[in-house]
């Protein structure tokens, strides 16, 4: 899947959760800060497992977190 087809709300949700830092989110989702940076920049498509872990940190669903912009 081209990476531009998937957008996400991670940056917005971080700021809505008390301006959570990238490092704090990385620690809670058990990934490196570089991966959070790559995700926010839309350069990396996460695994389903990681998507669920990040969604759980923000108490939202994966659908609320990621948006697929591709054509059917």
């Amino acid at each position: 899947m081209p990476k531009s087809e998937l957008s996400n709300e991670i940056r917005r949700l971080r700021f809505e959760h008390g301006e959570m830092t990238q490092q704090e989110l990385a620690d809670r989702a058990k990934v490196t800060r570089q991966t959070i940076i790559a995700l926010e920049a839309g350069r990396y498509v996460p695994s389903l497992l990681l998507a669920f872990r990040i969604a759980r940190v923000f108490h939202v669903t994966v659908d609320d977190l990621f948006h697929w912009n591709g054509k059917r």
């Binding site: 990476k3 990385a26 620690d27 058990k30 990934v31 490196t32 570089q34 991966t35 790559a38 350069r43 990396y44 996460p46 695994s47 497992l49 990681l50």
Partner: protein
């Protein structure tokens, strides 16, 4: 910079240093005895110390993205090694003939060269992939 990127830079430096030392020693003591320069490649084992910093901090040293990058870099390096190995075989066949004998010291040089090529391609591929994704 992630731990894997630091390791890639470290390994790339060692590979380049070994190749440069080999070429320098070749001019001084000949191509066969100069192979001792490839002993410098053993310093790549020190790359494990890069992981100690992350361990102390209690943070994740590598995740799924790092693993994916490593798999892709390994595949690129493996491809280069295979192509070089086949090229070396074809060249040896042409030079020594179908029933010829390949000197063992030449085999040693090929193995060192392949090791050096693997480290170089793996490191460069790792650094490129980190920049892209």
């Amino acid at each position: 910079m992630s731990v894997q990127q630091m390791v890639a830079w470290f390994n790339l430096s060692i590979a380049i240093l070994s190749a440069a030392a080999y070429l320098l020693l070749w001019a001084l003591i000949g191509p066969w005895r100069a192979m001792g320069a490839f002993g410098l490649l053993g310093f790549t084992g020190l790359s494990v110390f890069f992981y100690r910093k992350s361990k102390v901090a209690g943070r994740v040293a590598a995740d799924e993205r790092d693993a994916l990058i490593n798999i892709r870099a390994f595949a690129a390096a493996k491809s280069v090694v295979w192509v070089t190995l086949i090229a070396a075989y074809i060249i040896a066949l042409q030079v020594f003939g179908e029933h010829g004998a390949v000197p063992m010291r030449l085999m040693g040089l090929v193995i060192w060269f392949l090791f050096c090529a693997f480290l170089t391609v793996h490191s460069i591929a790792t650094l490129i992939l980190y920049a892209r994704q």
